[in-house]
Amino acid sequence: MVNIEIDGKQVSVPKGGTIMDGAKEIGIYIPHFCYHKKLSIAANCRMCLVQVEKAPKPLPACATPVMEGMKVYTHSKQAVTAQKGVMEFLLINHPLDCPICDQGGECQLQDLAVGYGSSGSRYQEAKRVVVNKNLGPLISTDMTRCIHCTRCVRFGQEIAGIMELGMAGRGEHSEILSFVGKTVDSEISGNVIDLCPVGALVSKPFRYSARTWELSRRKSISPHCGLGSNLIVQVKHNRVMRVLPRDNEELNECWLSDKDRFSYEGLNSEDRLTQPMIKHDGQWRSCTWQEALEFTANKLLEIKDQYGSGSLGALGSAHCTTEELFLLQKLMRGLGSGNVDHRLRQSNFTTDQSLCGVPWLGTRVAAISEQKSILIIGSTLRKDHPLIAQRIRQAVKKGTQLNVINPFDDDLLVKLNNKVIVAPDEIVRALASVLKYAFEQREVNAPESLIPIFDSLQSDMESAALIAKSLIDNSPAAIYLGNLAQHHPSYAQIHRLALALAEITGASIGILGEAANSVGAYIAGAIPDLSSLSTTVGLYSGEVTGLNAVQMLSDASDPKCRAFVLLNVEPEFDTYDPYQALKTLQSADFVVSLTAYKGNVADYADVMLPITPFTETSGTFVNTEGRVQSFNGVVAPLGDARPGWKVLRVLGSMLKLNVFDFDTPEAVREKVFPQDMKIDKYLNNRLADMKINLESKESYVIQRIGEVPIYQTDTIVRRAQSLQQTRDGMSIYAWMPKKLMEQLGISAGDQVKVTQAGSAIQLEAACDEKLPDNCVRIPCAHPKTFSLGAMFGEISVEKL
């Protein structure tokens, strides 16, 4: 530690720290623009000049390392003169257009100009003007205002991992731009809006819609990915105007993914359902809540009486609050049916009976940064978990080895230690190979049961051996199963193999939560079979069991369920096999959809009940690391929409179910999360049944890789216009490797007919050379592709 004195106060700063670090430590503010705690030091704005004893001239606080006995004066005459001088220069070319600038009122330059600027300018010459750039649908530019702090450039290089913005030219001619005509496409690009200390980069969707001082700031939690980013939702006239990050060093740090930041547009969508509606003789009409709920209750009872309790099924999205999902499963179980599930895109449920707890990340999110080796299995990491990908990127820079097993070779914008890129149906074998090498390298005899499996694997797979080595040689190490692994038809095998690998290598194992409440949904009991959770961790007991999502939706000709309750679900986008799901729902006797949006609900439902999105209800999300985060509504419900928990509670009362006497969301919360609850006790990724067998593969000529596109994950983001216009939002193609294209006589840009399980669509073909030979990558959950079948499996493609 180095002892220095700043403005007469003593402070110890670690060796190598700067004056700025010391000043922050003791709460002394030194004006600055280019300095940012998460970015490298540029020292190019010169605003943080301070006086240092014995130094011949003022020094930049952000870039001056501390030295023993240093005496610093941040507000001395010399320091203030220097700071004022810098401010005068900064203002020379800055337009004084604060009244029409979107940053007005929250602008660092404006704020500091009050303190360090003078009332008039001595500059008489012409000011420079810089042409605006089109950086895409999210970021709006006013480049004349730029003061060249290069925060946005450094953010791209250091945090986003891709340098999309740069500073061209020099001196007076320097300007921030992207390479000729390119847009900024990073999935966390919106952060440059927060970073920009002036009004040069502002939010395009928010632009000119409100002033910062008109907005009330309310805390909330992101309803999208499993990270549970902390949000500040800004509200004006009972309308969400924008979303900003709330610092939480353990989760989102000071960042937000673009999905979290811009999805709010979906909240104010035209498509919002604002009144209960009933279908009568094929005609939809709006009705009162009383009528809709009575009708629903009667219908459910009628079908129960006719076909038995087992004919009722409920599907809830893992983007729902824990309270909603708890009431949904209680409603079903109260009616005597265990048919309730939230894992709508999962296709393999064979581990349900052997769960030893609720699947979770396995470590704290913050602990990801401390891993020395990481293996990711089946994940479009940057798209599914933008900020976890960011965290891993920072870790890799500090030496963490990142390994992946994936069916595609997307650029993670980070150095990979090793990768195994194989077709989806080969992932299990690839993972088994890693396990085999891990046993060999540990010099442990593999269990009898595994030997025939290992013998059946192709020998020498060097990258698998290196992955095993990386996990063994480095501690701590972690294995994470991504969304794609969880959707995979052989998820049970992947999970078991990963567990075995974790055990032999000493790594931890984690399941990356797909949705904001993937862990919470288990805690709420929204799964059909609670028996294993009940025996292993004592979560619920004696609850009726039922069918999982795939079973409920399986066969339309012989439906297992006659009536469905859908909670925040769009079956055409949210299910593993949307083609099948829609058929089953359409043939069901009765479907009630609790939904915030009209969407295509009319195609299959009989009643629509308008519920509110996360901003209009209180609730709780349990993020992927098991962090319980409750939030309150930030605006009043739109129209006649009501919070989902309230709708379910009233429905429960109407059905005369006994546990439904909750008056407040707090009462429901108290029921799910009792005061003395230690959530860690319930989290465990182990499985009681570890029987590993490689099912004989079906042989596919061409197989599909179905991924959920970044901006199609849930109901809200699907309706966020600006996100839909980004490159990520627009790139819906049939991606094929070159070899396959040649084989089929297709070239990039051709229209192709894609056929899967009897249904066909037309798509544009595109080339992705890094895909395995017999794979076609077609995103699911998209209006262009939802009429196809399952996310994986046989598919055929022909040129049109």
Binding site: G166, A168, F179
Partner: protein
């Protein structure tokens, strides 16, 4: 995109740096590319970026920083006049104005016959010789009085 010969030269430059620091060769690579193509089109810069495994915008930053890189096609003779302070004090601006009048073009323009391009340049490290001019990034002309400019242009027109 670039000829085998140019690529060989670029590889020679790359070899001067550690293997994982290919991008150190960006300035020479751009110069070699410009020698071949005459100027740096976006595609050329993109190619160099890909060749050196660096973001295109980072190449663009370098190419726009130094005015010896031509981001637009130039005439047969690119004359760069220094107008920095020492030159300016010793007639640099006058020389530039004389050239402009003589050629009938402004800075960053090319004569219609495609012969001359005029550029405003930064210090060439020869302040004692002011006014100085650099022709085609290679040849330096010192003490450029109007007569000497006339002679230079005459010579070039031949």
């Amino acid at each position: 995109m670039l000829s085998a010969e140019s690529l060989k030269k670029i590889d020679h430059e790359i070899a001067k740096y550690p293997e994982d620091q290919k991008q150190s060769a960006v300035m020479s690579a751009l110069a070699i590319a410009q020698d071949e193509k005459g100027w740096l089109a976006n595609e050329t810069m993109n190619f160099v970026a890909e060749y050196l495994n660096m973001p295109p915008i980072a190449v663009y930053e370098v190419a726009t920083f130094y005015n010896m890189y031509n981001l637009e096609p130039v005439g047969q003779y690119k004359i760069t006049v220094c107008t920095n302070l020492p030159c300016a004090l010793s007639g640099g601006n006058d020389a530039a104005n004389y050239l402009k009048k003589k050629l009938g073009i402004d800075f960053n323009q090319t004569t219609t016959d495609g012969k001359f391009t005029l550029k405003e340049g930064e210090c060439m490290g020869a302040c004692g010789d002011a006014p100085v001019m650099l022709v085609n990034n290679r040849r330096m002309f010192s003490f450029m009085s109007n007569e000497k400019i006339d002679a230079m242009l005459e010579d070039m027109k031949k």
